[in-house]
């Protein structure tokens, strides 16, 4: 499943790196503790978080995530977007709470026809 499919299905708003929406999602990870995500997420994951500051881009870039989704209607900081654009990490936002969004993504990935 690509990031574009996720955006279409779940009404996410993309904030940067539109050219990368063809990125394939291989798995997912949810978390707000950066060391937890650093230690346990995998390459190709879609990372769902409530964090908005620019260090999330460093983590996603080092772990080669497919992209980041920020939940609960939170807006990424301006420098977060700038860094993400530079590093080529797509950032999307959702109004849903983390639990609900993760449930929907999981369903799409594992049960969609």
């Amino acid at each position: 499943m690509t990031l574009q499919t996720l955006i279409d299905e779940l009404g996410l708003k993309c904030k940067c790196c539109w050219e990368k929406l063809g990125n394939e999602i291989e798995g997912g990870y949810a978390g707000d503790l950066l060391s937890d995500v650093m230690g346990n997420s995998k390459k190709g994951d879609i990372w769902v978080t409530r964090q908005v500051h620019l260090n999330i881009v460093a983590v996603a870039s080092l772990k080669e995530h497919a992209g980041i989704v920020i939940v609960q209607g939170a807006s990424p900081d301006k420098d977060t977007i700038e860094k993400a654009q530079k590093e080529g990490i797509p950032i999307m936002v959702s109004d849903l709470p983390e639990f609900e969004l993760v449930g929907k993504i999981y369903h799409l990935m594992h049960h969609a026809q």
Binding site: L34, L54, V57, A58, V59, K63
Partner: protein, 145 residues
């Protein structure tokens, strides 16, 4: 002490500079890729370096991270001048942290950093002198054993 003959890079890190957190790890990752180090090894090095970097930024005035590529391993060595660690055994326990709120608000300081480094290393060493600084060494074997 790693063999200086294999020193490949030395990076400087300024304490409290959270804006640049991850830059050293990212540069090192790029460098190791150019050197043809296998991806799985680079992924481990990235975790180790990032956590070491964040520790220096969070708790030290300044520090350096060195990288050594030996024929059968990659070694990361982090050294800082700072508050140091009172009890290095305790500091390695997952969940133990002395981070203040400003660090925690960014999602750091959960007490998982040293545990992450240890879990991604084949050899791990840490020593510290309170109010002087901390020395950390992580070795990752290229053959995965």
């Amino acid at each position: 002490m790693p063999n200086e003959e294999y020193l490949e890079g030395k990076y400087f890190i300024q304490g409290r500079d959270f804006v640049d957190a991850g830059i050293v790890s990212s540069e090192m990752k790029k460098y190791l890729k150019e050197k043809g180090i296998p991806e799985g090894i680079i992924r481990k090095v990235a975790v180790v370096t990032f956590e070491a970097e964040v520790n220096i930024i969070s708790y030290a005035e300044q520090g350096t991270i060195k990288c050594y590529i030996e024929p059968d391993s990659v070694t990361i060595e982090a050294r800082d001048i700072g508050v140091g660690i009172e009890d290095v055994e305790l500091a390695q326990q997952e969940g133990y942290s002395t981070a203040d709120d400003s660090i925690r608000e960014m999602g750091f300081g959960a007490g998982m950093g040293l545990a992450n480094i240890k879990n991604h290393s084949d050899e791990f060493e840490i020593s510290s002198v309170p109010n002087e600084g901390t020395y950390l060494k992580s070795t990752i074997y290229l053959n995965g054993k």
